[in-house]
Structure formats: structure tokens, C-alpha cells
Symmetry: C3
Subunit: 326 residues, 3 copies
Amino acid sequence: MSNPFFKNHGPYKISKIIKSLNLNIDNSYNEKKVHDIKDLVSSTKNDITFLHSKKYKDIAKKTKASFCLTTNALKTELPESCIALVVENVLVSTSTITSMFYPDSINDNFDETVLSIDDTHFKDKVSFGKNVLIGSNVSIGSNCKIGHNTIIEKNVVIGDNCLIGSNNIIRNTLIKNYVRILDNCTIGKHGFGFFPIKNKNFRYPHIGIVLIEDNCEIGCGATIDRGSMSNTIIGKNTYLDNQIHIAHNVKIGENSIIAGQVGIAGSSIIGNNVKIGGQAGISGHLKIGNNVEIGGGSGVIRDIPENTKVMGYPAKNIREFLRDNK
Amino acid sequence: MSNPFFKNHGPYKISKIIKSLNLNIDNSYNEKKVHDIKDLVSSTKNDITFLHSKKYKDIAKKTKASFCLTTNALKTELPESCIALVVENVLVSTSTITSMFYPDSINDNFDETVLSIDDTHFKDKVSFGKNVLIGSNVSIGSNCKIGHNTIIEKNVVIGDNCLIGSNNIIRNTLIKNYVRILDNCTIGKHGFGFFPIKNKNFRYPHIGIVLIEDNCEIGCGATIDRGSMSNTIIGKNTYLDNQIHIAHNVKIGENSIIAGQVGIAGSSIIGNNVKIGGQAGISGHLKIGNNVEIGGGSGVIRDIPENTKVMGYPAKNIREFLRDNK
Amino acid sequence: MSNPFFKNHGPYKISKIIKSLNLNIDNSYNEKKVHDIKDLVSSTKNDITFLHSKKYKDIAKKTKASFCLTTNALKTELPESCIALVVENVLVSTSTITSMFYPDSINDNFDETVLSIDDTHFKDKVSFGKNVLIGSNVSIGSNCKIGHNTIIEKNVVIGDNCLIGSNNIIRNTLIKNYVRILDNCTIGKHGFGFFPIKNKNFRYPHIGIVLIEDNCEIGCGATIDRGSMSNTIIGKNTYLDNQIHIAHNVKIGENSIIAGQVGIAGSSIIGNNVKIGGQAGISGHLKIGNNVEIGGGSGVIRDIPENTKVMGYPAKNIREFLRDNK
């Protein structure tokens, strides 16, 4: 799938990519064109990918990418069809190249393309409040409502029968049908991802989007960041209460219920039919199975297998928690 | 007291109620009219009420309601004057009938009735900022200020000498005198209450309001949800710091002080002179006595008797907490 | 340094100050003029200061203030050059006198001085969105952007190359260069500081500001309160994620990284290169050293020495935490 919102400014000759990384590589494929940058799994021929950790060596072996940014130690994990470009810091180099392909994904300034909805063709199609603004590259289905002062910034697709409240800011987001977004939410901004280098923070590009599936409800004051190299996803019929923070690349399954003030850190994956109590926090890069119940106030710092009830900080089996805390 | 904000569309014949629940009851009181739906205590003659848990059997015995939605097991707890309507799921049936009486309590879409305050009679009475919107059925006392971009949606009563900041959204709320609401608050939306049924969430109506008593201060970014069958109440001279979440049906007493990022889950009752430290969370349906002090970061999962200091997760006596954590 | 934003309405004769505190002091210095009220360290000759706790007796001995509000027990800690004014409640008296010198620091109502940016000289200098409002006493450097619906209230200085997003409210704040403020933030309001006296809360004045140094990023939904007698400071190149609450007088060092939903209570001092995980909370009046790492969800209730990793509630050494929670 090509990126729905960020324009790919490639292809680029590999020589240009090598040069932009300040690499000293003498080679015979200088004229070869690279079409896109993707992760190990999604890459196809003529793409460039990246491998920065042993953890991914098994999927690295199967990548179809033609080039891969990696380290000297990891380069042997790649298939013969994939040429390793050895760099000092894989993630920083990946950011540099991603920014080259998708320069628009860096800039998260306020959207200068917006118009008052009264000056767009949506004025006859959508039921809307006062002071609603609409950016470029927006589509809105039938029977939708958009509340006062809400800003639908560029790169937003809204399906049918959606109810968007007031004071929201939405960009780089795909909203399916029958979704309800209450008030004061900020959805689709870049995540809190950057490399601290010599007293500067070098922010990496976020080319992912936020995807909100059918029938979801997003409570007041939510912040849902878009993904960096993949998407942030809220599954069908999942309901979020007020003041929830969903970081970049998080994926939440279907029919889940998440109570107020919960925070889910970057890249964690939450299953279907999961219930999370108020103020619980989930660390980054974790996997929470289907049908898990997490008690209010819990701090989850390890994966949770499916069909489990946990509570505590750190979260443990709820029976254990209650026994230890009689 | 009749509902101050939601119009009662009744009375309805009991036969119509029975039909809307798909019940097969042959009876002799089909023509009897039902005037309102209320809880066991508030109901009077000709009202319908509901009983879904043994917990309430003592108050059930004294209800003055003429009809009661309940289960086969619980119907014997009702007085002779009250006719039991046995249903499969009491709370779902209660929602259905409540929606029949109060159809306007279901819809929490943005308020389409609002006008710019410049186009209302408030323009000569209230000191107001730019882009202030006022809905229908709003009254505002003397000597009030309303800040920029604030939306006073329908069904709001504001007393005298109140200071409302900027970017707030308020509906279904009764604000007494000398109340200060800072910025970015969302007050009076429905709570996070619904029944998950077959991959859909069936939201129950919220016919309660938010009641904010004299001299309260509500900090920036608060979300205060209105009640479902009762009201959400903030008692006299209670102060809330920034980023606080108060769920539906919560009742907070007088002279309480609640620090930043606290969350109080649905239906909990907090006493007078209670101090709650930052980021503490209180589970739903709890009772916190007068003069209780709850340390910052605590997770309260049980009732707390009055005059107690607690801390920890789960919260326990503070001396015990400090001894266990030297 | 004189106060950058709040006008000093002094000097006042000491007799007027004594009278406003209802003190019965017969003295020979009635005509003496007091120029300002400051803390023990910052005070110079002809200022009034305050001493309310033994904790500060060492610095009290060196104060250059001519007068000091204090208690009978503490008055002997002052140097001969400083005349003690013995009062019942030092902090309440300090508030009273501060309000006398800085009456504008009490009022945090919405800013009635704002104009649409289109009606100011900034319209040719700043890149701005729809519905931007600018208060009095604002300066903005070159190459700045200000997003939709943002309100720059009175007393704000913004440096060069700053990116301010949408829906923000900022007042009493000094922003240096290359600062990014995302969306929905409320910055520079007074803190949650007051004295509960007989069922009323007597709010003390906040004459401090918020100071945001070069290269900082402030995430969506932040609340950063200005200081009471000192400033709230975010050091160079410090990044804050979404939904963070920073209370009054907090000082954060350089190059620190603070994840989502963290809360820092009043007057705590955070060092340089500190990393704080999501949802962690830090109690008031603590000192967190340089290079400290605080795990997500932690509750910090004691000072943390530099170069330490902590986690837990209460936070302890991370090795200990992980060992105790295997």
C-alpha cells in the first residue's frame, strides 16, 4: 500500500542516498533507483529498509528490499538479494532517508491550508458548528456532524455517520463509519520520538497515520499520535473514556473498553475485548493479549497473555495482587 | 424535583412501556399511566423504577413507585403497591424506558442551537471575550465573565459573580455563585456508561446534570461528566487543580481540595474537607468519609472511613504505608 | 531583576503596610519607604521579606531586607539591619503585602485586552492561523508561527523561530528561541496555591512567570502554571510529551525528557539530563539530581541523588524495584 497521506518524493538514485548519509562506499550500483523506504516486512524490490537489532534477524532473512541500512554486525543476517549499507547509527540514518522520501512528514506546524468550512464544498454536505476549519486533502462521508471550533487539518478521511464534537484538532487520520469523537481531542500529530544527539533532539519523521475503525468512541481531551513507520490503530467498536493518551504506533483491537486517564506508550499492541481501568499505564513495545482485564491504576511493564486479569504496579495476576494486599 | 434540563416526554401508558420492552404480560392495568422513571428512593406514585441488585433490597421495600423493572429473583422484595415487570436485563430495560421518557438525554452531539453572544440579550449583561457562543435554555446571573472561545451549550444556569475562562465547553450544568472555571474544561457531557452487547455498545441515557456549588474553582483541562440517573455534584468551596477527571454521578462534599491529574470513577461519594494528592485515583462506587487525606499517587479501591489518612496502591493507612516503605 | 510582567505599585510607607496587617506596632520608622517584597535571598535594602520556617534560618541571617514578616519564635534569626514584623500567619501576611505591591497578579480572568492579530502590527511579521488573539504587552521575534484559535494573552515575550500550535492559551510567559509548543496548552496561569481559612480559600498572589528556554518542545494539552514568589522554568532543549502538568515554581533543567501524563507538584527542582517515564508523579518541594532516570508510573516522594535510576511507588532504586517484583 502506498502511503495515503504523505507524498513520496522518490525515487532516488542509491548514489544520492549514500551521499546524503556521508558514506564512503565505492560501488557498481550507483545508478540504481530506490522507490521507497519501508520496514523489513513491507519492503519490496527496489525499496530500502533498515535492521537495527538482533531481535529482527529472522524477518530480516526474508526481506525483499534491495537495500538495507544496518550495522557491520548485523549485515550477515540479510539475504543475498539485499545490499547492506553499513552506518554508524541505523535509526538516525533511517530517519534521514525517510525525511528525504517524505519531507512533508517532518513538519507538524499548524495547517496553513485550512479554510472556513463555509468556503468549501462541505458546507452543503456536512452539519457543522461555528468556526469550523477544513484543510486540504480532506474527504467527509454522508450524514456527519462537526462541532464548533474544530479544525480538520490536511490529510483526513472521515467515513459516513460520524459525529465529531467541538474544539478538536485532527490531521493525518483515517476515520471509518459511525465513529464518535467528543471534544478537545488532538489526533494525528507526530509522536514523542526523537534521538537526543549532543544537546539537540533530532526528531524522526512520522509517516504513519491514525486509523480509527467503525463504531469507535474517543472521549474528551484524548491525544492520539500518528505512527512513525507504521500506523496507530483503534479497532472496531473500541471505546475510550476522557483524557486518554495513545502514543505513536500503538494498535488496539476490537471491542475494547479503556477508562479515563489511561496512557499507552509507543508501539504497544492491545488485543480484542480488553478492558483497562482508569489511570492504568502500559509501557512501550508490549503485547497485551485478547480478553485481558487490567485493573485501574495498574502499571503494566511486561507482556500479558490472553484471558488474564491483572492489577498492580507492576501489574500481576489479580488474585495474587488482592492476596498480597488484604 | 422535576428534571431541570431534560424534558419528560411522558406520561406513557404502561401498555406502551411493556410493548417497547417486548414483554409478554397479560394484565389488567394496561391503561394505567406512568409519569416518570426514577430511582427507588425518588419515585412516587405512578412512577416506574428499577431494582437490579440484592444490595438495594432494603430501600426497594419502601419504594413508592407503582411499577418496577426487576428480575424474577428480586421481585419479592417489592412492596404490594409496586407491580414488578420481570425483564431479562434490568439495566438495559431501564435504559430503554429512560430513553423513552427523556429522548433528548441520549444525544450529546455539538449544540446546534448556539448563537454568538453578540446576538443574544447577554451581550449587555455579561463581560465576555471573542467568539463566545451561547445555546438555548441558558441563564447567567449578574457580574459574570466568560472568556474567549467558550461555548455555553444548552441547559446551563450560571449564578452571580462567576468567572468562566477561555476554551471551555459547558452543557447540562447548574453553576451557583462565585464559581471560577479556568480554561479548556469540558463539563456536562454524558459519562462513560454503556452496555457492551454483541460487539456493540449500547449507551445508556444520562438524565442527570452537573451541579457546581458556591465558591468552587475548577482547574484547567477538567472533564466533569453529568450523572446518569442522579447528579454529579461538586460541593461548596471545593477546589480542583488542573487536568482532573470527575466521572458521572460522583458527589464531592464541601471544602475539599483535589490536586492535579486526580481521577474519580463513576458514582463515588467524597466527603467534606477531603484532601486528595496529585494523580491519585479513586475507583467507582466508593465512599470516602469526611476529613480524609489521600496521598498523591494513591489508588483507592475500598471505602475510607472519616478522619483517616491513607496512601499507596492500594491505599492503606499512611503510617502503615510509610513503615512498609522506609 | 525587577518583575518583567507585573507592575510594582509601591513604594509604600511601612506605616501603611503595618496598618494593612492590622498590627499594633508603635515605632520610630513609620515614614520609611518599602520598595518591594521579595524572598530572603533576593531582597535588598528597603525591601520587605518573610521568614516562616526554621528551615530557612541560615539564609535569613544573611538577608539584606530592611523588614521581615515573621513569628515571635523566628525573629531572633534575623540580622540587626532587618526589622522583624511579628504576625500571626506569616504566609497569609506575605500574600496580603504581595497583593498590595502587585495587585495585577491576583486577577487571572480572561484577558480583556486581546485583539485579533489582524488588528495588530504582528500581522505583517508573524505567520498565523485563523482567529488568533494577542493581548497587551506582547512581543514576538522573527520567523514565528502561531496556530488557529491560539490566544497569546497579556505579558508574553516570544523569541525567534518559535512554532506555536493551535488552541493554546499563554500568559505571563517568557519563551526563548526555537521553542515549539504543540496544541491545546494552557501556560502561565496562577498555580493551585491558597490558604484554606474558615471555609474560604484565600488565594495567594503569583508574581512569578513561566520561563521556557531555547529549543524546548511542549506537548499537547500541557498545563504549566507560573510561579508564586519565584519562576517556573523549563530548561534548554527539554522536551515534554502530551498531557503533562507542571505546577508553580517547578524548575526543570536542560536536556531532560519527560513522557506523557507526568505530573510535577509545586516547587520541585529537576536536574539536567533527567528522563521521566510516562505517568510518573513527583511530589512537591523535592530535588531530583542531574542524570536521574525515573521509571514510568513511579511516584517520587523523596529527593533523588544524581546519576540514579529509580522506579516504583514510592520510587526506589530500580534494581531493588525489579528484584522485589520479579
